[in-house]
Amino acid sequence: MDVSQYLSVFLDEAKEHLQSLNDNIMTLEQDPENEDCINEIFRSAHSMKGMAGTMGYTRMQNLTHDMEDVFSDVRAGKIKIKSEMIDVLLQCLDAIQGYVDNITENQDEGTEEHQNIIKALADIRSGNVGSASAPEADAASAAEASDSAASEPDPGASPMTDYRLIKLDPSARTTLEEAKAQGKNILGVTVHIQESCILKAARGFLVFKGIEEVGEIVVSEPNTQDIEDEKFDFTFSLVVITDESKEKLAEIVKSVSEVEGCECGEFDLDAEKAVEEAAEPVPAPAATPTPAPAPSATPNPAPAGSKAAPAAGAGGKKPVGKPVVNRTVRVDIEKLDVLMNLVSELIIAKNSLISAANTSGVSNGNVNEQIEYLESVTTNLHESVMKVRMVPIESVLQKFPRMIRDLNKTLGKKMELTMTGEDTEMDRTVVDEIGDPLMHLIRNSADHGIESAELRAQRGKPEVGQIFLHAFQDGNSVVIEVGDDGNGIDAEAVKSKAIEKGVVTPEQAALLTEKQCVELLFHPGFSTAKQVSEISGRGVGLDVVKSKVESLSGEVSVNTKLGVGSTWVIRLPLTLAIIQALMVIVGEEKYAIPLDSIQSIEDVSPSDLKLVENKEVINLRGSVTPIIRLNEVLDTESTKSPEDDMVVVIARKGDQQIGLVIDELMGQQEIVIKPLGKYTNKCKLISGATILGDGEIALILDTNSIF
C-alpha cells in the first residue's frame, strides 16, 4: 500500500505524540502516581505503535509496542514508576525521535534496532529494575485500585455519572410533570461508553438519535453541547419522556456499538427533590431497579480505579477526561504565505487606489466613503490572516523542561525551570526562529548563571536554582524574559576578558559604565566560560542570539545584579510583514520609519541646538537627546535652509532616544515590508523597502542601527 501521501500527517502526529509523551513522562517523574499521565502515555504510545505499523516502520513499531507494554503493566498496577525507569523511557523517546528524524529526512526509519532499550524495557517489565519493595507496592496499589474501583458506583465520587443525581431546572421540571400527568413514562438513563472508544461524541450522538426515535430527551447531563464536544467522561445521563418501557430503552441504547452498558429506570421526580436537599445522597444501587448491573465495577477494575482516584483525591484538579478536541484544519505554511502575499498585494492596490483618487480629483464624498470602507476591510483581512499565522510560543518552549532535566544531570546542579505565558501567540516564522536563541539563553543560565550547590548554600540561597521564562504580549510586541537567581554577570570579569580578547582597549574599557560592560557580552566571539563545556561549546554565542533577534526586527537586553541573578529580555514585533509607518521625505527621497520606534515628532528651532562633545543635541523636556541629520547619514542634500525650523522625529530604542532631522512629513501609512534582497544587505540603515501607492519604492529606515 502506498502510504507516502500520509507521511506528512504521520510525521505531524508522531511529533505531537512524542511531545505529549515527553511532557507526561516528565510529570510522572514528579508525581509517579498520576494516573491521568499514565493513561495519556499509554494512549500516545498505543497510537504511535498503530501509526508506525500502518506506515510500515516496524522498528519504530516494536519500540513503541514495548513501551506500551510497560505502561499497560503500570496501568494495571504491576509496576511502579521509578526514577531509573524514567531514564530508560526518555532514552526510548530519544530513539523514537531518531526514527522520526530519519523518516523526515529520507522517508526511512533507519536500521538502528535499539536492542539495549528494548532490553531495558523488558527488564522493567520483569521487575529487574524495580527494587525489593516493588511487590508490596504492587499489592498496595492493587488494593488501592480495587478499593476505588469498588467505590466507583458510589455516586458521591462523581456526581455526573448517574441519572438519579440529575438536577432539574424549573422549566424541565414543569415539562416532566406535565408529561407525567399525561401518563407517559419518565425514564432516567445512564450510558457508559467503553473506555477504548475513540469517538465518544459520535457514540453519544447515536444514543441520542436512537432515543429520540421513541421519546423526547428533556435533560442531559452533561449538556448536549458538551457531549458533542466530547467534554464528558465515559458516562452521561439523560432524562427521557417516552411511551416505551425502560427495558426497551435500555435495549436501544445498548444496540449502539462501543456502549459498555447502561442503567435505566423510572425517573422519580420526588427523589430528585430529595437529592437536592440531601448533601450526600447515597441511593444504594441495589435498592433501585437497575436492569443493567453497574458495569464499570466488573470488567476491568484498574481503569475504573484510575478514573475514580483523581476525581476523589485531587480535589482541585479539573474534571478528568480527554482534552477538548480542537476543531482545526492543518494548512501548509506555504499556502498561508501565499495568502499573506495576496493580502499584501491587496493593500498595495488599495494604497494605489487612494493615491489615484487623490490625484485625479474624483475624491467626492461617495468615493471617499467607499475607500474608507475598503480600508477597514483590508485592515481586518490583514489582521485575520495574521491571526491565522499566529501560533502559541508553546511549541518552542515544550522542549525546555526536558533540557533542564538533562542539564541537571550533566552539570550536577540542581535547577528548576518555571515558564509562564506559553500561550502567548506570535507569527509562525518568528516562533520557528526564536527557539535556538531561547535555548541558548536558558543553557547560559544553567551553565554560567546558577552557582554550584556549595556556593548557593554559602550565599544563603535555596538549594535548587531557579531558571524562569516569562512570555507576554506588550502592546505591539511580544516580550520574552529568560532569567535565573544565580550568580549574575560580573561586569569587571567581562571587562578584563574583553580587553584580553582585544574587543576594547584598556583606555576604552575604563570609560565604560557597568551596563556597557555587560553589553560587551553580545560582541562577536565572546565567551566568558572558563572552560568549554558541552553546553557552552555549542557554537551559538550571545552575538548570534543578538543577531538572530535583530534579524527578526527585535531587540535583546540584559539586566543583571552580581550575586543575585540576571534577566535577559527579548522584545519582538508581533507581525513582520505589514506595519504602520511614518512616511518622511529626506532630500528628494521618501523613507518609511516604523511607527513602533517613534516616540514623538518635534519642531525644533536651530537656536535650540546645543553642542556636547562636538555633537548636536537638544534638550527635550529635560532629557538631552542627540540629533542626527538624516540627510548626512543617507548621503543626500537637504532641501531646507539651515535657518529653517527643523522637523525632528524622536526615535527610541530601549530607554535611549535620538532625534532624527527630516525635511518633510508625509503622514502615516500601512506599508508592506519587502526584502531588499542581496547586494543591498550591506546597508545596515535600511531594513527593507515598500511599494507606495504610485508604484514608487520607499526604503524603510531601521532606526535601531542609527543609535
Binding site: 498585494e345 498595495i348 527621497e589 547619514v633 543617507l634 548621503d635 543626500t636 519587502k674 526584502p675 531588499l676 534582497g677 542581496k678 547586494y679 543591498t680 550591506k682 546597508c683 545596515k684 540603515l685 535600511i686 523597502a689 511599494i691 508604484g695 514608487e696 519604492i697 520607499a698 526604503l699
Partner: protein, 167 residues
C-alpha cells in the same frame, strides 16, 4: 516548417542557444536568453544609501523589489549615460533572485550554434579590464559578439582591475 523543427530540436538538445545582443559602451555582448526574466525601459531607480557604487538602487518589478546595477561601473567604464535606448535587463540568477543590469541598447536576438562559440580563457592578470566578464566569443554573419559571463556580472565583487587599483 522543417527548418523551425530542426531549430527546435537543436535547441532542446542544447546545441542552439538564443542570445539577446546588447550594447555596452562600443562593444556588443550576448546574454543567454534563459537567464533573462524581462527587459524593461529605463525607469525611476530608488537609490539605496551606503552601498557599492555600481549598485544604482532598486526598482519595482511586478511588486517585487529588484536591485539594479551598472555593468559599466562594474567593468570600470565611465558612468552610464541614460538615453531613450537605455534598458534594464532583469536577470534571474541560479538562486532565483532577480537582478537588473543597465545596458545602453538592446540590439537583436541571435541564435548561435554551440560550435560557433569560442570559449575564452584569458589569463586574468594580463587581460583587459573587462575580460573576466566574458566567457566566450560567438561568431555570426555580422561579426563577433562577446558572451557575457553572468556569474561574474552579478557577483557582489567589483571588477578585479578596480579592486587592484584601489589597493
Amino acid at each position: 516548417m522543417n527548418e523551425i523543427q530542426e531549430v527546435k530540436e537543436k535547441a532542446e538538445k542544447g546545441e542552439l542557444i538564443q542570445y539577446i545582443v546588447i550594447k555596452i559602451d562600443d562593444e556588443q555582448y550576448g546574454i543567454n536568453i534563459k537567464f533573462i526574466d524581462n527587459i524593461v525601459r529605463m525607469q525611476q531607480i530608488t537609490r539605496v544609501p551606503k552601498v557599492d557604487a555600481f549598485l544604482k538602487g532598486v526598482i519595482n518589478i511586478r511588486g517585487e523589489i529588484v536591485p539594479v546595477m551598472s555593468v559599466r561601473m562594474k567593468m570600470g567604464l565611465s558612468e552610464d549615460v541614460i538615453t531613450g535606448a537605455s534598458r534594464i535587463i532583469i536577470l534571474k540568477t541560479d538562486t532565483g533572485d532577480l537582478v537588473g543590469i543597465i545596458v545602453d541598447q538592446v540590439n537583436q536576438v541571435l541564435t548561435l550554434d554551440e560550435k560557433d562559440i569560442e570559449k575564452v580563457r584569458y589569463d586574468d592578470k594580463k587581460g583587459q579590464s573587462n575580460v573576466s566578464f566574458v566567457s566566450g566569443v560567438g561568431h555570426y554573419d555580422g561579426g563577433l559578439v562577446s558572451i557575457l559571463d553572468l556569474d561574474a556580472v552579478v557577483s557582489e565583487k567589483e571588477s578585479k582591475e578596480k579592486a587592484s587599483n584601489a589597493s
